[in-house]
């Protein structure tokens, strides 16, 4: 097995809330191999974005990484100086965001925004940078790229802007791409195009991709590995086909069953209640309050992330006793 491109270990992120530090993301660990697409899934508020930002140290002054390490190619990003970190961002690791409409600077042309990264990290001349900008816009499928680099973001549609974002992320040939819900704001037809593009890039350039999404359809379509987050913790981590076929955590199972499917397969079930907010995280299993399989043991104390059958990891005391394959919840009681 090759060494991971990115290795996150016990990442814990805290935010200053009313004067005290409150952990929002706790002990997140996962790896991304070169050429691999890793999905980070979970409900809204489960800490996906916070984890991503923490990787690149993009959380503002109100947040801090209190524990853990982020090894990129063996280097711990958390111990770099601000300046060294700026050299990593956009150069070795690029990031794209959910909102294509607001993530581009409205005051500058698309071309200059792409050229800017190239000049910053490659020290390219104006002309070279411009050439590179046209190249990458072409790569992401913007028609007539050469004539559009002088346009401003508002002259592009949402899908095209997301492609511009991707082009910008790729302009420096990064080895790793972090994409935080890159398609949520887009229509399915456009989403399909963007996902295809990302998959191609991973495959063709050996780029590692961390794809954040809450859409299991997207996961099923594009990912190799899946990391499931719930209330700031990784609850399960496994290879894509396996986790869909045999979820080992009740939350993963619930998530999958609660999804309406276009193919109409499967009964829809609902996970009752809402996830806890960071200030209400219990000491014990954080899903216990909503878990149909919860027993007294679940509330006994913190649950560790343990190796999982068939590889990966899972955070559940009953994982071995439960068979969570598309079975109605009642039948187990």
């Amino acid at each position: 097995m090759t060494t991971p491109l990115l290795s996150v270990r016990d990442l814990t992120v805290e935010f200053a809330v009313r004067g005290s530090w409150q952990p929002v993301v706790t002990d997140v660990s996962f790896d991304v191999m070169p050429g691999q697409v890793v999905a980070l899934v979970g409900e809204s508020g489960s800490g996906k974005s916070v984890s991503c930002f923490a990787l690149l140290r993009l959380h503002g002054d109100s947040g801090r990484t209190s524990r853990g390490e982020v090894l990129f190619d063996g280097r711990d990003l958390l111990s770099l100086s601000e300046r060294e970190m700026a050299d990593v961002r956009g150069n070795e690791i690029s990031m794209i965001f959910q909102e294509p409409m607001t993530s581009l600077n409205p005051a500058f042309t698309v071309g200059s925004q792409i050229a800017e990264v190239v000049r910053r990290h490659r020290g390219a001349s104006r002309a070279e940078a411009r050439k590179r900008a046209i190249e990458v816009l072409d790569l992401v499928g913007i028609p007539r790229a050469a004539s559009r680099i002088g346009d401003y973001p508002h002259q592009f549609s949402g899908g095209m802007r997301q492609r511009v974002m991707i082009a910008m992320a790729l302009a420096t040939d990064p080895r790793m791409l972090i994409a935080d819900e890159p398609t949520t704001a887009l229509d399915v037809t456009i989403q399909a195009q963007i996902l295809d593009l990302v998959k191609d890039l991973a495959r063709d350039f050996g780029m590692g991709v961390l794809l954040v999404t809450h859409d299991l359809g997207v996961v099923a379509d594009a990912c190799d590995e899946v990391v499931v987050m719930y209330a700031g913790q990784v609850v399960e981590r496994a290879e894509c086909f396996d986790i869909f076929a045999r979820p080992r955590h009740p939350y993963t199972a619930g998530l999958m069953r609660s999804l309406p499917r276009v193919d109409g397969m499967g009964e829809i079930e609902i996970i009752p209640g809402t996830p806890p907010m960071p200030d209400q995280f219990p000491e014990h299993c954080r899903f216990a309050a909503r878990c149909p399989h919860a027993v007294a043991a679940c509330e006994a104390g913190p649950v560790a992330l343990e190796p999982r059958v068939n590889g990966g990891a899972v955070r559940c005391v009953r994982t071995l006793e439960l068979d969570l394959r598309r079975t109605p919840e009642g039948s187990l009681a």
Partner: protein, 292 residues
């Protein structure tokens, strides 16, 4: 199925939330206190003032504060500074209220109409407001005073005219913004009559930016009044106004700085309070930042 609110469990109406947020920072509380003090001073000046503000005592000129029964001393004519300050608060308050009143009278209704009806109304009113805005504020006031004659009423009228386009703009913008809010559409979709929508949905939402403007306008009015009085264009002597006190005190600056210091501190503090309250208002109204 249980869908209990996960957020705060205290019941909090928008008004209470506003009060909580507004009274949070000490600066806001302090500013509010200052304004309250002046309000009381202005209303109760005749009862609070230890002396008649116009009575001169040439033998007790330019007393320093805390001397001879004069808490804040006396001016070059032996008039009690504290009493003049209190009566000056009346002038300032009156000035602010008149001018803001004129501004509201001229700005509010056209703005609501323009924002709601759009089209022709909007075009006409907005052109007029633009034109008014292109007059530099103090100069417009100066011109009006110059033509109508220098006295406080005219000065305040003039400053009121200055406020008209400003209030107009704020209210119109807020009306337009509210108009676009989905909850207005939602209410319309229910079949709510327009008048009800105006009263129940538009007005309350327009009031908050307006309140901010009003408190800033109060500050500006006090500043403008003191500037005009300083130039001899506002309150006519010997009536006390903070600006004229300053201007008079200035002539005797060499003999004692107190008649200058006292009104200066007063003006600065009061205008400061108005601005702080304005800022506080704008920070406290509206929805909670970020989603609950």
């Amino acid at each position: 199925m249980s869908v209990l609110p996960t957020t705060r469990t205290v019941v909090e109406s928008p008004r209470r939330r506003f009060v909580r947020r507004f009274t949070g920072p000490w600066a806001n509380r302090f500013a509010l206190l200052v304004l309250l003090v002046w309000l009381v001073a202005a209303v109760a000046a005749p009862w609070l003032a230890p002396y008649d503000p116009l009575v001169q005592d040439i033998d007790a000129r330019r007393l320093a504060p805390l001397s001879d029964g004069h808490l804040l001393g006396t001016d070059a004519l032996g008039r009690d500074t504290l009493s003049r300050l209190l009566y000056g608060a009346r002038v300032a308050g009156l000035a602010a209220i008149t001018s803001v009143g004129v501004g509201l009278l001229g700005g509010l209704v056209p703005a609501l109409l323009a924002g709601l009806l759009r089209g022709w109304w909007d075009a006409v009113f907005s052109r007029i407001a633009d034109a008014l805005l292109s007059f530099p504020p103090l100069l417009l006031a100066l011109a009006i005073v110059g033509v109508m004659g220098p006295n406080l009423t005219n000065a305040m009228l003039a400053i009121g005219v200055v406020f008209v386009p400003r209030f107009y703009r704020v209210v119109r913008a807020a009306t337009l913004a509210v108009r676009e809010e989905t909850f207005i559409e939602a209410s319309r979709s229910i079949g709510t009559p327009t008048a009800w929508i105006l009263r129940r949905h538009v007005l309350p939402n327009v009031l908050s930016p307006l309140a901010v403007q009003i408190s800033l306008a109060f500050g500006f009015a006090i500043l403008a009044e003191s500037s005009l009085s300083f130039l001899g264009l506002g309150v006519q002597p010997p009536d006390p106004s903070w600006g004229s006190m300053l201007s008079e005190g200035r002539a005797a600056w060499f003999y004692t700085p107190w008649p200058v210091i006292v009104p200066t501190v007063t003006v600065v503090l009061t205008v400061l309070a108005c601005n702080v309250v304005g800022d506080g208002l704008s920070d406290s109204v509206g929805r909670e930042k970020g989603r609950a």
